[in-house]
Structure formats: C-alpha cells, structure tokens
Amino acid sequence: MTTLNYKRADFQSDQEVKWCPGCGDYTILASVQAYMAEMGVAREDVVFVSGIGCSSRFPYYMNTYGMHSIHGRAPAIASGVVTANPDLSVWVVTGDGDALSIGGNHLIHALRRNVNLKILLFNNQIYGLTKGQYSPTSEVGKTTKSTPLGSIDHPFNPVSLALGADASFVARTIDMDRKHTMEILRRAHEHEGTALIEIYQNCNVFNDKAFLALTGKDERVHNQIRMEDGEPIIFGPEGEKAVVIESGVARIVDTASVDPSDIHVHDSREVNPSMAFALSRISSHPDGPTPIGIFRDINRPVYDQEMARQIEAVTEKRGPGDLQTLIGSQGTWTVE
C-alpha cells in the first residue's frame, strides 16, 4: 500500500447531507470522516453498509463504497461483503430500530459469528425517520405517537444484549464527544472481529435531550463513568464516586467509603464476559451515572478469516477443484 495522505474532505461525498439541523448524526459523521482520514486504509477498501432510518442515510455521505440497504438487514449484507473479501474494512451504520428491532436477529448472529464488521449503532431511543414512534431502547412509560398512554415495553440494554450474544468487542460513546468517538473507532478498527459501538445520539426533533444527563454542561461530570483499561473506575467532579464489583454485581459507591484496592480496575481484555456484563448493568437507561468506553475487547476466531483459511487448507490438501472430475465423481459409464 502506498502511503495514504488523506484529509477529512477525502471522505466527504458530493451528496448534500440531509438530516435535520442540529441532529447528532452530523457530529458522528464528522468524527467518522475525520477518523477515516487517519485510519490508514485506502478509501477504495472501505465499505459502509446501512439499513433504513435517519442514521442509515450515512453511507451516502461517505466517499467510500457503500450500500443503503433495507430495514434491519445491514449486518447480514455486510457479513456477505466481508466474507466475500476479508481484506475490506466494512462498517455498518444502523439505528436503535434498525439494529435492535427488525434487525435484532442479524445483529446477534453477526456478533456470535464474529464477522469482521464495525457496527455503529446510533441509539437515539426513538424511530426518527418514521417520525417518532418508540423504539426497543425507549424507556417504559414513554409517550410517543404509537404510545399515547405511555409505552409498556421494557427496553433492551444494547450492551448487555451484545455481551449475551458473545460479542468480542462492545463499546459505548456519545455523539457530542468527538475525541472519544474517534478513539473508540480506532480501537474497533484494530479489533479483529465484530465490534459493536453504541453511540448515544440526540434526535433533537423527536426525542430531544434524551442524553442530557451525559451531555449537559452541568450534568455530565456527575454521570459519565469513563472506563479506561488498567484504571480504577472513579467518576464525579472530584472523583468522589467509584465502582466496585461484589459477588458478581457492579455497584456505585462513595470513593471515600471503600478501600482503594476494592475499586474495580477496568480490563476490557478479560476473556470472561461476566465482568463486562456486570458493568453494563450499572445503567440501563442513560438518565443517571452511565459507563462510557470499551466494555469488552477480546480475540477469538474471525468468521470471514476462518472461511478463507478453510478454503485455503482444503485446496492445499486436495488441489484446486477440477470441474470435469467433479461431474464424473459419482461414477460414470460410457456409451459409444
């Protein structure tokens, strides 16, 4: 590969960006384009696949290969892309409805197989494109167009769900925090296998301020629990809160009330997902202290690579297939 000398603009397509003014999607787009310039992958080797939703418009704005597919199917289509060519850098952009409602099955199967996909889940806790119905991440009691009396559906915790599906990489970030987003994108890219990144994204038209606890000037220092590998998990303006894990359950405590050595030291590389799962349960809704960062990042065999390897191995063993031999392989007779 020649040295790649990209600028962010190299990843901007010629299409006008069509989200509502103020939408969190703009910031994420900027972060992704900026990261792509740094990623070190040739633009032609990058593919963005999306489903349907506001967020799923994303590929149109990336000057890479891309497909704006159909609702919920992006993880499957993208699995086909990267299985066909494991050298590509394949990214999925999806929404909370697209990924977790109609596309839930493809998502959990991609995670389990560990196909080399980077999945950006724009979670705005609402259906944007269809103008404001509740989604599988909307809180119970939410009043929306389809739930005028309040929703009775218990929401998913996307991180827990992904860990339950044995995801090898799961992280969470916030649209407004471009630096953190780019850092997570980098780690996801470096990870081999499926990476799920939940991005809290503000839909200012249908679900404004859903993430205020994490983005508000005053609120965020109280509620963002930053997880950094090798660091004890401490948060709050003066670090006055900490996370401990006791008999399997993660809890928030006053830092002062515990022995510093009891504070949980984060390790996203831990192979057993139980710790990551426990951390994911600290918050099932981002209206209070909520972990941000990488929950899990472990290595296990990658589906598309395994498939290529299997083909290579058997071809080495048996030699490349010969079609004439194949069609005669079940026994033949000759008529003269």
């Binding site: 040739a42 149109y60 990336m62 497909m67 066909a84 490349p320 004439q324 069609i327």
Partner: protein, 626 residues
C-alpha cells in the same frame, strides 16, 4: 408375471432363463428405516453402469422417522430402466418390492395389473398387519392372486448370511435391504460390481458392515437362483443413448455443480448464502463439499440472512446464489427487491414443494410460478427460468448466471421436489466447451474521469459492476429510487417513470437473447401441449405415444418463463387448441391467457404426486377427438 408391455406365458417351475424387456419399472417400498432409498439408488446406479436409460422418483415422509410399520412412515423409491430413451420414472410399477405390510397397502394400487410383488414374508405378522390397517394377511387371503408373488423370509436369511461378518445387535437386520437388492439384481441380471465397489468405498472403515452388506447382497442373489424364485429372469439391454460419458444425477446435485460450472464459465468465485429447507438443503450440502473450487457457503440465521449475505457478496464481485423452497422464497421477497433496485447479479433458486404454508414439504408441486413472477411489491419485473429435468438443472443454472451477469439483475430459477430428488442419466458435457459468461468488473471511470454507476450499456441496458477495492470507483447504491445515470437518490417524478420503464425494458428485451421455443411435432397439428418444469418427461412421453398413433399433436416446453421466448406468441396462436398440464391450478395458463389472449386449456393436478404419462395421454386424446 408381467413387466413392460409384454406378457410372459411360460409355465412356472421350468429352469429360469433370460427374457429381454425394453423397459421395466420397479418400486422399492418400506419403512423409513428400511433403507429403501439406498437400495433404489444402488439398483439405479448398477443399471446406469450397465448402460440403461433411466429415471427415478424417490418419495419419503416429512417426519424424520414416523412410527415403524405405519403407512405414514413409508419411504419409496421408483426407478424406470429401459433400452431406449425414456423420460420419466414411469406410471405403474411392474415390480413392487415391499418390505412390510404398510408399504404394500399404500402402494399396491399403483402396481400394474398382473405385476410382480416381492415381499419380506417375515414382516407380515400380526402387529405389522394391524399397524398398516390390514384385517387379514394379504399374503394368505387370496387378495393378491392376480399378481406374481415372490416371497422371501428376508430377516432369517439376512441374519444367517451376516453371521460371520462381525456385526451384531440392531445392525444385523440393517443389511436386509441389500438382500432385497441382491434378489432384484438376480431377477434383472444386473451387474454386481458397481454395488460391490460402492460398498467397499463407503464402508472402508467398517469392514464388519461391509462384509454384512456384501453377504446379504449375495444371499439375495442366491435366494433367487436356488429357489427358482421366478420362472424367468429378465434383461433390459443398454439403451442406444447419444455417445458420451454418462453419470446418474439428481437435480439438486446438478444445480450445485451448475453453480460451480457457472463460476468457472464466468471466471468468478462462487458464493452460496442460504438457510436449510427441504427439498433445497442438498444444494447446500453438495456445494459445501467443494470448497476447493473456491466456493463459499454461508448457512445464515434465516432465509433473509441467507439472501442478505448473498447480496453483499454480489456487491463484492462474487457470482452469488441463494437457494430455498416456497416459504423461504416468501421471506426473501423484500431483499430480492433490493437486488433488483441495486441491479446486482444474483441467482435465486427455488425448489418448489407442496404449499401453501408448510404444506407438504417433501412433495413435488409447481405452484410458485406466479409468486416468482409477481411476488414483489411495486413494479419489479425479473427473469424467471425453470429446469425441466434433473440434468437440465445444471444447464439452467449456468443460463441463469449468464442472464444475471449480462443484464445485472437478480434471476429466479425454479426447480421442484421431483427434479431435485429425482435422477436421470446425464451425458456429461466437456467442460472446456462451456460458454464464456463473464461480466468484467468495471476497472476505471466510464464517463470522462467520473464513474457513473447507473450509466447503461446501450444494448443490454445493464449497468456496470464496480466492486469494492477498486480505486477511484467508490460509489453508493441502495433501495431508494435511483437517478438515472448517477445512481443518486432521486424523488423526481419523471425519473421514476423512466427508471420503471428502463427496468421493465431491460428484462423484456432478454426475450431477444434466449433460444426460441422449439416445437416437437407438426407445427400444423391440431393441438399444442405446452409445459414447463418437471412435467417435461411426462408430457413428452404422452405426446410421443399419441404421435405414434399418427394423431396431430405437438409439444413445446418452456425453460424461460419471464420473459417468454420471442416466438411464443406466434406459436400459441398457430394451433387450434393449446393444452397446458401443470402441477398447479393453472399458473402458466394464466400467463399465456394474459399475454396472448389465447384460450389455453388447463390440465391441473395438485395432489402431491406427479402426473402419470397415461393421464396426459388420455387428456390429449380427449381434446383431439373433441
């Protein structure tokens, strides 16, 4: 005993000698666990090796193993062998090999008058008779008097034979089917070598099982020989087939090989994304055995995932297939539409089975034609092809790939359960003569220094295929209406009409790129019998019989269902009557009526069983005479 059209009058008890028949139809029936599919396949392969023409029809229950001894659990395998070019597994068996009462009671009605019945006498005990629904033992109550019975205590004889082999317990009686096979081999003077060789290969790691089966096979033969089981044995001479090297192939296998062949003909890697479903799963099984051809098989989480990964692979430059059966086709509909809008090459194989809903999963039916043609929301025309026989499944798959690539479109290929699991001898092609169906990827800009994904070939209206990894051609496609030329999203009314017209024209125009329909028979005959799909053999057989009588009938068979071949209109208008036999309620007929305003007559059967040659023959005669 009566086999074929001839009647044997030689008295019993004479030393049997050989009589020559031109064809014979044999059906093996027994419990699902009795190994009848295996016995039938071995008999078939031995006959194939011997040089007969042949056709087979396996049939099995939807349950993995229904309760032993019941009618619901009966599995059967029918084969017709002949010394001439035959087309079907035949209507009525000359010989029925019944391993148990349930097999007998459920199949006897099909056996030709005065046919031969071979039974395992030891299975005709109280409990089995009762389970099958017999009040009395048919071997004893005279109800079978009009048939020739060959009765053997197969269990005792098998046990005896395998004593030395080393198998024990339940495995002992497993060889029973080879006893029956041996007996039939004796009766029809089949060569033993192909079976012996097959067994040696198959059981190379289980010498005990190998020996048991060989011993049972031998014992069956010897039983025939030593007990004078029949007054005469029969030969069916090798058929005078086209010269060539033949193999016996099922439609599913041929389709899998066709996909591999298409990949080679297109110089593209092959991708198969699917989800198991009867009767299409064997295509997956076969393809997954041949990864050294560079074939990628992806068993997805469901049918939507199966076609999803296939669309992804098509976008990435693979020759991409997805395969399923009716219920799965229903699930794929939305994604097929995406492939159509993104104009990606994709072959969708649909092996039809009995419907609607879960229906009759192991039975043949041709009732997905209109669904294949109209089964998408919006104006979404697509090529639809259909295999007409097991070996044609190979050719039609390559043809589908040719069209998919040349026109950048998804294509549906229809097969059905009887093609998929039935077999016929196939004159192997010289693969070096396969057509070149390649569609080169776009490697650079196609308009000045720009790449326009929806710029079309002026002849075919196909767009170009620029795959990820190609520098400078980065572009985005998707399911929203596309602007002509650029492929950008467009909500412009005029553009929508243009794209609708363009997509329609692209498909309609394929009519000029496919072979015209050929007529078998007099173009001036009174009646045209028009068919498609797996009825090819029965229709042809019936028409031949009527033609032999010198009556004015012709036939034509469609492999391209959308668009129709360009000359079809002229043809259907040139006959006084058009008869369309179908294993559905008149789906091709509907299309012919709508397209050509011709009052085609339907002959329809949706009874989980293929047509018999005789049925169609009779219908033809009725129509010619009326």
């Amino acid at each position: 005993m009566s086999v074929s059209e001839k009647t044997v009058t030689r008295p019993a008890n004479e030393t049997p000698d050989q009589e020559e028949l031109d064809k014979v139809i044999i059906r093996f029936v027994g419990d699902s666990g009795d190994g009848m599919q295996l016995a039938g396949t071995r008999f078939t392969d031995a006959s194939a090796a011997f040089g007969n023409d042949l056709a087979t029809f396996p049939s099995f229950p939807a349950e993995i193993r229904a309760p032993a001894g019941t009618v619901g659990g009966v599995s059967s395998f029918q084969v017709q062998i002949a010394d001439f070019d035959i087309l079907t597994p035949g209507d009525e068996p000359d010989v029925l090999v019944a391993m148990n009462p349930a097999g007998l009671i459920s199949n006897l009605k099909d056996v030709r008058p005065n046919g031969t019945i071979v039974v395992n006498s030891e299975a005709f005990i109280e409990r089995n008779l009762h389970r099958a629904g017999y009040e009395k033992n048919p071997l004893e109550d005279g109800s079978l008097d009009s048939y020739r019975i060959i009765s053997a205590p197969m269990e005792t004889l098998t046990k005896e034979a395998v004593k030395e082999s080393g198998v024990t317990g339940r495995e002992v009686l497993r060889s029973k089917n080879f006893f029956a096979l041996g007996l039939m081999a004796w009766l029809f003077n089949r060569p033993m070598d192909p079976t012996t060789e097959w067994l040696e290969k198959k059981f190379s790691k289980r010498p005990d099982v190998l020996n048991a089966n060989l011993a049972a096979l031998k014992a069956g033969w010897n039983f025939g020989l030593t007990t004078d089981a029949a007054p005469t044995t029969y030969t069916v001479k090798p058929a005078k087939l086209e010269p060539g090297t033949y193999t016996n192939v099922t439609g599913n296998t041929a389709m899998a090989w066709g996909a591999i062949a298409a990949g080679q003909a297109a110089k593209l890697p092959v991708f198969y994304g699917t989800y198991p479903i009867t009767p299409a799963s064997d295509i997956l099984h076969e393809l997954s055995r041949h990864k050294n051809f560079g074939v990628k098989t992806f068993q997805a989480e469901d049918e939507i995932g199966g076609i999803g990964v296939a669309v992804g692979a098509a976008f990435t430059g693979h020759l991409s297939f997805t395969g399923t059966s009716g219920p799965g086709l229903a699930l794929k509909s939305e994604t097929i539409s995406l492939a159509l809008m993104t104009e990606l090459p994709l072959i969708i194989i649909n092996v039809q089975r009995g419907g609607p809903s879960t229906g009759l999963p192991t039975k043949p039916e041709q009732a997905d034609l209109l669904f294949a043609i109209f089964g998408r929301h919006g104006e979404a025309p697509m090529p639809v092809l259909a295999a007409q026989s097991p070996s044609d499944a190979f050719d039609i798959t390559i043809e589908a790939a040719r069209i998919a690539l040349k026109y950048m479109t998804p294509v549906i290929v229809l097969s059905d359960n009887s093609i998929a699991t039935g077999s016929e001898p196939w004159n192997l092609p010289d693969v070096s003569t396969l057509p070149d169906i390649s569609k080169p990827y776009q490697m650079g800009p196609n308009s000045g220094d720009e790449y326009l994904p929806y710029l079309r070939d002026p002849q075919t209206f196909a767009r170009s295929w620029a795959i990820p990894g190609t520098p400078g051609l980065e572009h985005r496609i998707g399911g929203l209406e596309k602007q002509e030329v650029t492929g950008n999203v467009s909500y412009d009314p005029g553009n929508h009409q243009l794209m609708i017209d363009t997509r329609a024209w692209k498909i309609a125009n394929i009519a000029n790129d496919i072979p015209p329909v050929e007529i078998d028979g007099d173009p001036k005959a009174k009646l045209l019998v028009l068919g498609w799909g797996s009825t090819y053999g029965v229709i042809k057989g019936a028409v031949r019989r009527v033609q032999k009588r010198g009556l004015p009938v012709a036939t034509a068979h469609l492999r391209h269902l959308n668009p129709f071949p360009a000359n079809l209109g002229e043809i259907v208008h040139s006959y006084e009557k058009v008869l369309i036999p179908e294993m559905n309620m008149g789906q091709l007929r509907h299309l012919i009526r709508a397209e050509y305003l011709v009052p085609a007559i339907g002959y329809n059967k949706v009874s989980a069983e293929p047509f018999k040659v005789r049925e169609i023959e009779n219908r033809i005669l009725e129509l010619i005479e009326s």
